[in-house]
């Protein structure tokens, strides 16, 4: 039988939400009392497709 105790203990422990993306998502959760961890991530070249293609041509980064 599968041991689910580890999975269950996860649900019983404090929830820490890892937020990848706009900080405002985490802000809303924090206002509701949840702990969040913000990952400092931004899309490559600010999401500029043309710039991403040029970077790729030059070997990436």
């Amino acid at each position: 039988m599968t041991d689910v105790s580890k999975a269950l203990s996860l649900f019983r422990s404090e929830l820490v939400i890892v937020n990848v993306g706009p900080k405002s998502f985490a802000d809303v959760l924090e206002k509701q009392g949840y702990r969040t961890l913000q990952v400092d991530w931004k899309p490559a070249a600010g999401g500029d497709k043309k710039m991403q293609e040029m970077l790729e041509y030059l070997g990436g980064y």
Partner: protein
């Protein structure tokens, strides 16, 4: 070889040039004698190209003052007319392997430090730092007293210093910097340790010079804790003159501001500038009455030190500078960490004891800056719009110049690939 392989190989070559460099200060000579391309009607200015009519007040004053100093014009008004008419030309210093800090300019008769990179063979040049007097051409101020000091520097000062440097057989700047390990300097805006280590090499040679102004020159140098900066700028330019000859490389090899625009250069495209509006330097002001409205945009080439891994790049080596300009030890650490994330090399000459003995990050890859959205930070002194120093601090380098640089290098590499 594929394009990415060629870029990787070129970048390795540039990082080797930067990290294996051995800049040695060999001479002090009039610019017209030693700077390739220098001409008797040419005045070199900091930052990217600019139309004469657009020169900000401090640079206009410095250019006209230098023209009078060189006898190109009888007075500053005549000099300005000649500049506007193109009879006196202006050009970016870094296009001539020179650096001009703050509002400094280089005219043909001015003495320059000559530094040779013994590894790559490149040569770079910079005028001497004029000392702590606030009334200097370096901050866009000109008058009889400034002219008198310029004549002293061109005359006795250059003769005595030149003789001492030549007699030394060359002063190795890596050896000087190695001695400063753990002494708390970031070597752009704070360099008493390097200036003292340089004096250790220089003063005994100066004492051997037989000249009536010898003691006055020793006093000037010994009392100037920023003396090393301009020697190092010549050293950086010596190194970058070689780095600029490496096609396909995406490494930044030049940057500076003229108060209006700020620009960078890359190895792949040499002296081509990528520019945008000059950012402001935020930090402290010398006078409580100064406000941000009084500030000119980034002015000067002294940030070539950052191009070679000093200043803001190695902020963790000089946390006291951050303390002075409103930052913290954590900020210093963060600045260097940011620089590491966008740099391809690391210096080994002055490891930082409180940073796990790591060296200064060097060689900013424009691809990483744009791709990762991480902007390196440069330290710098800020200038007043009307002339004079406002204060000191730091500026985040503008993303726009890096995006333009990626586009420029991309076009250049495409062109080379079609030709191949």
């Amino acid at each position: 070889m594929t394009v990415p392989e060629k870029v990787a190989e070129a970048n390795k070559k540039v990082i080797d040039i930067m990290t294996k460099a051995r800049p040695v200060w060999v001479d002090v000579r009039p610019a017209i004698e030693v700077v390739p391309g220098m001409d008797k009607d040419l005045i070199l200015i900091p930052g990217p190209p600019i139309e004469p009519k657009d020169l900000p007040i401090p640079l206009k004053t410095a250019v006209c003052g230098a023209a009078c100093h060189d006898g190109l014009a009888k007075n500053v008004d005549e000099a300005w007319e000649m500049v506007l008419a193109g009879k006196i030309r202006i050009a970016p210093s870094q296009d001539y392997n020179c650096g001009n800090a703050a509002s400094s300019v280089m005219s043909p008769s001015m003495p320059v430090f000559v530094v040779e990179d013994k590894t790559s063979g490149g040569k770079g040049f910079c005028v001497p730092h004029p000392g702590s007097n606030p009334r200097v051409l370096r901050w866009g101020i000109y008058g009889d007293d400034v002219e008198e000091n310029l004549r002293f520097i061109r005359g006795d000062y250059a003769q005595v210093l030149g003789e001492a440097v030549r007699a030394s057989g060359g002063i190795d700047l890596i050896r000087v910097l190695s001695r400063t390990a753990g002494m708390g300097d970031e070597n752009h805006n704070r360099q008493p340790a390097a200036s003292m280590a340089l004096a250790l090499e220089l003063v005994p040679r100066l004492l051997d010079v037989d000249h009536p102004a010898r003691d006055k020159v020793i006093k000037e140098i010994a009392a100037n804790d920023r003396f090393f900066l301009h020697v190092m700028m010549a050293g950086v330019e010596a190194i970058m003159s070689s780095a600029k000859k490496v096609p396909y490389s995406t490494v930044m090899v030049g940057m500076g501001g003229n108060g209006i625009e700020f620009g960078i250069q890359t190895a792949a495209t040499g002296n081509r500038w990528y520019t945008t509006k000059a950012p402001l330097i935020s930090g402290i002001f010398l006078k409580p009455t100064t406000t941000e409205k009084d500030l000119l945009g980034y002015l000067g080439d002294s940030c070539v030190t950052e191009v070679w891994g000093l200043g803001g790049m190695s902020a963790i080596a000089g946390p006291a500078y951050l303390r002075m300009t409103g930052g913290t030890f954590k900020d210093a650490k963060e600045r260097t960490e940011k620089a590491r994330m966008v740099s391809l090399g690391e210096h080994n000459f002055a490891p930082v004891p409180w940073d796990d003995y790591r060296g200064f990050p060097v060689g900013v890859d424009i691809r990483k800056v744009v791709g990762l959205n991480i902007l390196p930070i440069s330290h710098g002194g800020s200038a007043l719009k009307t002339g004079g120093q406002a204060g000191a601090g730091a500026a985040e380098l503008p993303m726009d110049v890096f995006r333009k640089a990626v586009e420029g290098v991309y076009e250049e590499v495409k062109r080379l690939e079609v030709e191949a």
